[in-house]
């Protein structure tokens, strides 16, 4: 099992969710996060005063899937989250040791 974690632009959420549902992902966790990468935050000048946006709003998606699905998941995210502009985000993949469904106690694949 792997956990795929993706940081995406907020407005891309619906598209990414759709793309993931289409390939059979059934559950995901999403969090409102703020961050910056190479995009660094941008400087806007509003009302004559400089207003530096240090952290930009992003969405973090977490999905745990069986190993053989990872590639499709990544591809779906890549396709649906891309705008080509700076700040499109990143995908991280982690190994997952075990998953347990709290209600039933099922483990491993059954639990995800």
């Amino acid at each position: 099992m792997k956990k795929v974690e993706a940081i995406i632009k907020p407005f891309k959420l619906e598209e990414v969710k759709e793309a993931l549902t289409e390939i059979g992902v059934q559950g995901m966790t999403l969090t409102e996060v703020k961050g910056f990468g190479r995009q660094k935050g941008h400087q806007e000048i509003y009302r004559g005063a400089e207003y530096v946006v240090d952290f930009l709003p992003k969405i973090k998606l977490e999905i745990v899937v069986p190993e053989e699905m990872v590639e499709r998941v990544v591809e779906a995210i890549l396709k649906s989250a891309r705008t080509g502009k700076i700040g499109d985000g990143k995908i991280f993949i982690y190994p997952v040791e075990e998953a347990i469904r709290i209600r039933t106690g099922e483990k491993g694949r059954e639990a995800i």
């Binding site: 407005f11 703020k34 000048i45 080509g84 502009k85 700076i86």
Partner: protein
């Protein structure tokens, strides 16, 4: 032990069996020790004392004794407590003589109130009577002090759980209007007036028989709900979380669908508010008795014959924040007012919403039901449940809180209020109160707007003011939806909002409504994360609107264009292009784009003659360096550029207009087309072609040699999306080509260009972005400025 009964009946039965159980345990002890029969008693307190034992409630017990030996006492206590523990009851108990019990009651108000519901379960009647006698004596001399203690206790409870009953996950016991409030009513009646139960309230005229019926109905309803909840959760759970509500509603006999659940919750809210009002009425009576001078309430006076009675009451309330006095409330509640009276209030109502205490006024209007006489559309919203992840309050309360949130925003966002004409526009407050009037129906914002169009005229709105209210209701989700679901880096997205909103002041109005709505929904609805996206959108739209004073007309133009051209094209025309051209030209441009999209060609050009030359529109896919290629090819074909207006469409198309004059009579635009095609196919190297031609073209221009200083400005502020490069200099035929080439070499793209070359002076306004679609950094901008400065010097020399 837990008997299967139903609801209130169940808890009474359970109580009966519990009593029996205790007797069964104690009887053998009394037989062994007959003299203890008169020296020990088991007293039930709290809910059990009142005869109710909810499925998962605690059992409050008092072991009352008359100085029994420790060993004997222990045998009575253990005989009962151990089996109860074995049955998993949560038992709390105290062991006191009557005297000790009364002393402790003075220190501990919760114990005192628990004593009020004391009931002898088994054992010495004389001992129990002694306790009750002592309790009466204790209370009689200290009514005021004890009342204030209780009141403090209630205030602390409500501070923890909120004052209003329309909380979507209510606490059945401790929440406002919950069972504790009913107990408070009974306790206060007992302490202050020596009343035993609700019947005594009626007997002494504190309640009408009808009020008594309502209160009893409400209490037994809430008890039934609690009983069902305990049984469902199989434990003591007094908070009615949203996930429990459908099942509890079903078990209570409501239809097993969403509507059934909503009806259940609405009835529960009404029960809470009945109890809460009863408590507050009683508190008022008590306080008038104890503190006749302190009460700042609005009192009942004989209605004036002018018809201004209602209006005056609520005017004072909204302005000064004083509560209505009990008699006045009773007078207003359920009375039907004559049309003139209601009309007066209705006309004043929108301005009253802008007064500082409008929330208190709205709540009074609701409890007295006067609100439904001036605004019947509000009745179905009362206590209406909104099932989603965000809302914390019933619909009517949410709408009240939206108005209140606007008041709070006055100090937090003075910058927004400054944009509004006349300070506190009634339209905004009225729209805030009604923005969700059609909630629950599909497309509630649009349906709501239509309904408001019928409602608002009754409140004196007409003409522009009416349109404003309708607009705000219709678009109350526009900013939030756009901020969360659209790419705010896209100029087009921001432009769409700008076109709908039209003016900076309207934008500020809509933004205030959006903020107020989000805050009144609950903390989960409005995180700092969302706030940031929303603020970003607001600032971008505002900038766009400020830069373009003519935007209102643009919306009309777009509408007119939409009538003649397919929406896909008409909506794609960028706002500045819409601004620059008249309707027939815009139509021509759209048709040109349409034929380009359906052709296979690399570009499409439409040529029309002008007095001194030609105007030509060119459509082709945008790419870095395109403008340089277009300008260069025209120069090479023998044309002087007089004006350029270049725009990028959302489809990634460049839609540019060039006004050109031939350098020499034979210059031919058909030849230019051929040349451009070869440049696009990379058959011709434009740079080397121009280097051959430059000598001959140089000899031709500029028309007037005039030494005037050049100016270069970098503007990072005016556009949220582009760095604007402005150049004012002497006219020179090659200049635009060279500048465009320099920009391309810097790896930048030109999103828009407005260029005019007059006889003596050329103005270039170029909207630039990096390849990633961002503005230039300060350093990049400075480097570019230097480079162009040098270029201008070279041209001069």
């Amino acid at each position: 032990m837990l008997t299967e009964g139903h609801s209130e009946k169940g808890s009474r039965e359970r109580c009966f069996y519990f009593d029996k159980f205790v007797r069964g345990l104690w009887e053998p002890l009394f037989r062994e020790n007959p003299e203890s029969r008169e020296r020990v008693a088991l007293v039930a307190l709290g809910g059990y004392g009142e005869g109710y034992l909810c499925a998962g409630s605690d059992v409050d017990l008092l072991f009352l004794h008359a100085g029994l030996s420790e060993g004997t006492l222990a045998s009575f206590v253990e005989r009962l407590i151990y089996p109860l523990w074995d049955y998993h009851f949560e038992v709390s108990y105290r062991i006191f003589t009557p005297e000790e019990a009364l002393r402790f009651a003075l220190e501990e108000p919760t114990f005192l109130t628990a004593l009020f519901s004391a009931r002898l379960v088994y054992g010495s009647e004389a001992l129990f009577a002694e306790l009750l006698r002592g309790l009466r004596k204790l209370v009689s001399g200290r009514a005021k002090e004890l009342y204030l203690r209780l009141k403090k206790y209630r205030e602390a409870r409500l501070a923890r759980l909120g004052e209003e009953v329309y909380f979507l996950e209510p606490h059945l016991k401790e929440g406002p209007g919950g069972l504790r409030d009913f107990q408070f009513l009974i306790w206060a009646g007992r302490i202050v007036f020596g009343l035993e139960g609700l019947e005594d309230f009626v007997r002494t005229g504190l309640l009408t028989p009808e009020e008594e019926r309502e209160i009893s109905g409400a209490v037994s309803f809430i008890r039934r709900v609690r009983e069902t909840l305990h049984r469902f959760c199989e434990r003591k759970e007094d908070r009615l979380f949203m996930e429990y509500q459908p099942e509890i509603a079903r078990r209570l006999g409501y239809p097993p669908d969403r509507r059934g659940t909503e009806t259940f919750m609405t009835e529960l809210f009404r029960a809470f508010s009945t109890l809460k009002e009863a408590v507050e009425d009683l508190m008022e009576t008590v306080e008038e008795l104890f503190f006749p001078e302190a009460s700042p309430k609005i009192r009942f006076e004989v209605p004036s014959p002018t018809g201004a009675f209602l209006r005056r009451i609520f005017e004072i309330q909204a302005h000064e924040g004083r509560p209505l006095d009990r008699h006045l409330k009773k007078y207003l509640r359920g009375r039907f007012f004559c049309p003139e009276e209601l009309e007066e209030l209705r006309k004043a109502f929108p301005s009253l919403l802008t007064e500082p205490y409008s929330l208190l006024m709205l709540r009074s209007l609701r409890t007295t039901e006067v609100l439904y006489q001036i605004l019947p559309e509000f009745r179905p919203l009362q206590g209406k449940v909104q099932y989603d992840l965000y809302h914390l309050y019933a619909l009517d309360e949410h709408l009240f809180l939206t108005v209140e949130a606007l008041h709070r925003l006055r100090s937090e966002r003075p910058d927004l209020w400054k944009e509004l004409p006349g300070g506190l526009p009634k339209e905004l407050f009225f729209a805030a109160l009604l923005h969700d009037v059609a909630k629950g129906q599909p497309g509630h914002a649009e349906v709501g707007a239509q309904r408001v169009r019928e409602i608002a005229p009754r409140f004196g709105f007409s003409g522009q003011a009416l349109e404003e209210v309708v607009f705000l209701v219709r678009h109350h989700l526009l900013l939030m939806d756009t901020a969360l679901r659209r790419d705010l880096e896209e100029e087009k997205v921001v432009e769409e909002v700008a076109l709908k909103v039209k003016t900076p002041s309207r934008l500020a109005s809509l933004y205030l409504l959006t903020l107020a709505d989000a805050r009144a929904t609950g903390p989960r609805a409005f995180t700092s994360w969302k706030a940031e996206l929303l603020e970003d959108l607001y600032q971008k739209v505002r900038k766009l609107l400020q830069a373009r004073k003519g935007t209102p007309d643009l919306a009309q133009k777009r509408k007119a264009l939409l009538k003649e051209i397919s929406p896909l094209l008409a909506e794609s025309v960028p706002l500045p292009q819409l601004e620059h051209y008249d309707l027939p030209t815009l139509k021509r441009i759209c048709l040109l784009v349409k034929s380009f999209l359906s052709s296979e060609r690399a570009f499409l050009a439409e040529i029309s003659p002008r007095p001194e030359g030609y105007s030509l529109f060119v459509v082709c896919p945008d790419r870095p360096g395109l403008l340089a290629d277009l300008c260069g090819s025209l120069l090479a074909a023998g044309f002087r550029l007089r004006r350029v207006r270049a725009f990028t469409w959302p489809q990634g198309l460049a839609v540019d207009e060039f006004v050109v004059e031939p350098f020499w009579p034979g210059a031919n635009l058909e030849e230019w087309k051929g040349l451009l095609a070869r440049i696009f196919d990379q058959e011709v190297d434009l740079a080397s072609l121009l280097s051959h031609k430059s000598e001959s073209i140089w000899k031709l221009g500029p028309k007037i040699k005039w030494e005037s200083p050049s100016e270069i400005q970098i503007d990072q502020e005016s556009s949220p999306f582009y760095t604007i490069l402005e150049i004012y200099t002497a006219e020179a035929p090659f200049l635009l080509y060279e500048i465009a080439t320099t920009i391309t070499h810097h790896g930048l793209t030109i999103g828009k260009a407005l260029v005019s070359e007059k006889e003596d002076r050329a103005a270039f306004i170029l909207y630039l972005q990096t390849k990633e679609g961002e503005k230039l950094s300060a350093q990049e901008a400075e480097e570019l400025r230097q480079k162009i400065q040098n270029q201008l010097k070279e041209v001069r020399s």
